[in-house]
Amino acid sequence: MKPFRQCLMAVVVLSVVLLVSCKPDRSRLDDGHIRAGKSGVHQDLFRIRYRPKWQAQAQFAGIYMAESRGIYEQYGLDVEIQGLLQAQDAIDSLKSGTSDVVHLDLLRAIDVLRDSTWITNIGQINQKNAILLVGKRSRGINSLNDFKGKKLGEWRSGSYLITDIFLKGSKIPMEIVPIDGSINLFTQNVVDVVNVMRYNEYHQLLQAGIKEEDLFVADLSELGYQIPDEGFYVSKEFYSLHPNECKAFVDATMDGWLYAFSHPEEAIDEVVKRMQQDNIRANRAHQRWMLDKMKEVIMPIAGDLGKLKKTDYQNAIKLMTEYYNFTRDIPFEEFCPNGAQK
């Protein structure tokens, strides 16, 4: 019996040793976040779960390059790029704690702070919005005035707020048809005007055989509605616990964007690879266009890369107050602790 006990003890001790040695190099922090030690990297990495706004495409090339080129690791981060969670809204992802960092439109971010300031802008990717309203000249649309009374295919989620504000501000009554990402309602003439991003759906229309000269294009940013859209947002609680990691995430991502802009073909290779892995339709010409147009919205002028400008924020608050009954006065520093004081 003694040898059996000795053997049993040895097995138990060996199992404990094995369990200890096989345990991942992770330590749980006070807030429940994990520091993960990557093999071959001797420093602890802070794990961030990032939720992109849409499926893989060049709109997120900077994030992909930051990950694939190891820029996040250099900033001490282990970033998990989550798949598209169609069933869940980005706000819900933050609320439920499914994601740490999400992509949000500035107006939408302000809109969800009607009761309390529970989310924080940690970085502003796009300094300029890329929203266009396009109509076919063949359908009699040759000016903004021709929009009146026509059907507008408008995104039912995401960046619809600026379009609504534009229509209200310009006093253009239109019949709104809520749509998802499809351009087919427009190509099939079910709607007369459609809401598109210059870097994405607009080029899809061109690739569907619609000629640029056959389109009337209203660029909202050039019509006095220059409100930057995409930014990075976290819960206020998350920011208060990890301000340095939030800043590191934004800085690393913008480094990724700079790398993507200076190595466009490599960035497109990476984007197309990810699209193919996710079984998403991909053609390089479209992704090249998208990367090129993203550069125009991310870096319209030099300086303040990745930071929300105070004036842009104030303009957004003003529009929301005027057209969307927003009544709170949230200080810029509270909404965006790392913003640019201009």
């Binding site: 039912r156 809520p178 998802d180 499809s182 309602l185 690739q207 055989g209 053609n283 390089r284 479209h286």
Partner: protein
Amino acid sequence: MAHRSEDRTIAYQLISFVFAFMLIIFLASILVTRSLYHDIMLDNQLDNMRHLAHERIYLIDGILFRVESIARISRSVFSDYSLTDDERAGFLREILMENPQIHSICIADKATEGKPPLVMFTVRHKLTEREVPGHSYQYADWFQIPFITEEPFWTEPWVDTDGLGELIISYSLPVFETGVRTGLLRFDIRLSYLQELIAGSSYFKVGSSFLVSTTGTLVAHRDMDLVMNHTLFSLKQEYSEPSLEKLGYAMISGEQGHLKINGKSPFGRSWVYYQPLLSNHWSVGVAVDEDYLMRDVYAILMIQTVASVLIFFFVAIIIYARVLNVSRPLKRLALAADRIGGGDFDVQIPESNKSHEIATLSNSFISMQASLKEYIKNLRITTEEKNQIRGDVIFASEIQTKLVPSNTKHPCGVKELRAYGILEPAGDIGGDLYDYFMIDEDHFCFVIADVLGKGIVAAMAMTMAATLLPSIAPHVKSSNELLKELNSFLCRNNIESNFVTALLGIIDLKTGKLQFSNCGHVPLYIRKMDRSFTKYGETHATALGVFENLNIGYDELDLTIGDELILYTDGVTEAMNVDEEFLGFTGLEEILRKLPAPNPETTATMILESVHHFARGSSHKDDITLLVIDYKHPGFLED
């Protein structure tokens, strides 16, 4: 750049010419053949492509129309009969099971009442049904477009996430109850099913059928990487090939026709025939590689090329052999000509009867050889005679030279005088003369003369004058009388009637008195020690040897110490430069002004050099004679 002579042989030139000529004919024939056959072959192949496209369209339209028909019948059953939900579902289950080409059916007939759509599909012949959760379906094309338009609608391919997650195309048609739109029925076909139908064509070994949707999307193509990823317009952007865009517009516009696609895209270097489907207005294309389409033309052109090369090769060999044969006598002729050129005029000229031209050439060579022999013989005689005359002339020249006094420091040993003379005939012998001699102990006589003309006759006249003057001078002692005697002598003995210009002077060594007479000769210059000079241009008679009773005058003047008499012939003043301008008296005086202190040798030499310098490059030649005498130069006192 010059070719080496061996490169330009007759064979080389003939072969090059024939090659160039044949090349032009060959290229022209290839172009004509290609052009003619290209159109014929293209027409034939386009017929085949058209048949193939019709076949595919018949197959696909057959299925799509059948689905449309089933959908309409279903909708009619729903509207015409009061069926319960279970009966409706049961009816559609029957349809799904009996029509394998239908992948799935979605019942969303009561969407407006909030009833969730029901998707039914078969998995391994087993019916499966699933409710579609949420409301997102209302924003999908299959629902939204026909729901708004209230018209049936064929969708673009989409991923059926509520079913098996496959790419499908759907036919949706709105359902009405008592005239009110309540929802939709949707009938799905797998895209892969249509892709198999398109890929089933194997008429062409190189080429393929493809299917393009109403947005220009490639929904079926043998290159699966293109399918659903590219439109014809994105390919145009990717490959910068405008013909792809043209094809795209034609296909999405429902046109029918054919087009050549260039560039390096997957459609590059191919012909495409396209025609629309009647059901959903997609377009079927048949693409065939240009090389495959034209393979028969290329085969003909290849045969033509090989035949042309062979013909050229044989023609070149024949030309080379023939030219070698014909040119052999020419080579022998060339060798004989080389020997004649080397002086062997007796060499045997080869004769040839190979061709008329070469025989003519041989005869011409023989004739030329005889002429050359005769010419050389005459030339030899003439040369001997010329050499004899030349010897005589040289001898005469030597005699003439010896008639002229040699230059010594003091002429005739007279210490009061220095003299220096130069006689430079234009040819071997000349017609100029200068001379000086003592008449008696106190009188020094000098003369310079120029006979009209040159050569032997002039020299003979000069020789007579030179011989006569010293012999008569002791008896006459006067310059004009001496010249009169000379004139009489010349008139009596002048065979050729050559006249003579002469300037003769007598210096009285004791008194320094100079008496001189100028008969048609150029003026005398007298330079002083201060380098000033005086021109004595007056003549005392015309030239000698023309009028027998000629009156000749004279002038007298007193020479002072260091006076330098400069005498010359018209060869000096009539020296001509390259612009055919004479030196003249102005030029001569210009030379005199630049002369150093009087010294006969220096003066004579420098005048001659200056005249040569003036006349350099000119072909004009005349006898030049200079005689410079100075009187009681200070050097005399030292002596």
